[in-house]
């Protein structure tokens, strides 16, 4: 299999460049991550993040043949050769395929990703019916890999002002959580020309989410709530 991988070492390189690799696939190579881990035998300077190898930690998010995804759950034999690996678009590159996720996490923290409930704590737990719990499906599963936000044009143009699909999906996760009491504040916080309303429903986010979540739909639902609220 032929691969072409984005390389950049800040201590040595002036500019990034693409490096070609060739490797014999073995029967045990199922996912892209298996292959690039074995590539490190050929070239141990190749740098990328990885951890769980099963699509739940989000560490190995990268741009694969133009489309963001997780290396550990991308079936390697389905990829067109040469397989082009690049870091997530628009995020500052620290080294090779490792990017700086600071801005991404800043936006995530800005939506207050925690339950806000000032009532005194109940003896056991805050109860929630199965129907209320069902509303969190498709929202809580986000692993914050960054595939969506780094493929979103609105995030490209205004990363510091637009919250981005991941942040907004999590905002909705707390807005419709029946145990959360800060719904009004959350909606008000997003009601400005940039934080939510830069979203044009381009839907790149939903296209690339490796967990099959739909941030564009969550954003739509937040907008509808805001409209209902204002009438």
């Amino acid at each position: 299999m032929r691969l072409s991988i984005f390389r950049f070492n800040p201590e040595q390189d002036e500019k990034p460049y693409m490096q070609d690799y060739e490797i014999e696939l073995e029967p045990t190579d199922q996912m892209l991550l298996d292959v690039i881990l074995r590539l490190k035998i050929q070239d141990d300077t190749l740098t990328f993040r990885k951890s769980c190898r099963e699509g739940v930690c989000g560490s190995d998010a990268m741009n694969i043949n133009g489309r963001n995804g997780l290396a550990c759950i991308t079936v390697v034999r389905e990829l067109k050769e040469p397989v082009e690996l690049r870091p997530l678009p628009s995020f500052p590159v620290i080294r090779d395929l490792v990017v700086d996720m600071t801005q991404f996490f800043k936006q995530y923290h800005s939506i207050k990703p925690y339950l806000i409930n000032d009532e005194s704590a109940p003896e056991k737990e805050r109860l929630q019916s199965p129907e209320e719990r069902k509303k969190l499906d498709g929202l809580y599963e986000c692993i914050l890999c960054g595939c969506c936000t780094s493929q979103c044009p609105s995030s490209w143009w205004n990363p510091d002002k637009f919250v981005g699909p991941a942040g907004l999906l999590q905002a909705y996760r707390f807005i419709i959580d029946s145990r959360d009491q800060a719904t009004q504040e959350r909606l008000d916080d997003l009601n400005d020309p940039y934080r939510l309303f830069r979203c044009r429903s381009i839907m790149n986010c939903t296209e690339v989410c490796p967990k099959d979540l739909a941030p564009s739909r969550a954003i739509e639902k937040i907008r509808l709530m805001m409209v209902k609220d204002s009438l």
């Binding site: 429903s201 739909a214 509808l224």
Partner: protein, 132 residues
């Protein structure tokens, strides 16, 4: 970013941002064309208002507007604007439906994106058939 990182590599953190190498799904094409056609239509507003004005001023003005429509270049421009309006309108309807949660799931959204892209061109071809 911690201070250590900043001191070492504050100068060089490149980004990967080559649009030619980033995949553009069909919905993204619909979206950027929606924006481009919007700008084209907005630029066309002053001239359209002028045509309206001229056509209502008197029989000579009206005749003048009709005469312009005989020119080939004018007709080509008209077809481009018809395409722009058709695409913008269809993409707009797709957005309005999405707003009320119709066709928001990925498979439906991809299908509607194709319909919008091809529909706009179809209307333009129709206009070309009529005008040329």
């Amino acid at each position: 970013m911690c201070i250590g990182d900043m001191a070492k590599s504050k100068k060089r953190r490149p980004v990967f941002f080559n649009l030619a190498q980033i995949q553009m799904p069909v919905g993204a094409l619909t979206s950027i064309t929606h924006r481009v056609t919007g700008i084209l239509l907005a630029l066309g507003i002053p001239f359209s208002v002028y045509l309206l004005d001229l056509s209502l001023q008197g029989p000579q003005g009206y005749a003048q507007v009709i005469a312009w429509f005989d020119k080939f270049a004018f007709r080509v421009a008209a077809i481009v604007l018809v395409w722009a309006l058709a695409h913008h309108l269809l993409a707009g309807i797709r957005h309005l439906l999405g707003d009320i949660d119709i066709g928001s799931e990925l498979p439906a959204a991809r299908r509607s994106a194709w319909i919008v892209n091809l529909g706009g061109v179809a209307v333009a071809l129709l206009a070309a058939g009529v005008l040329l």
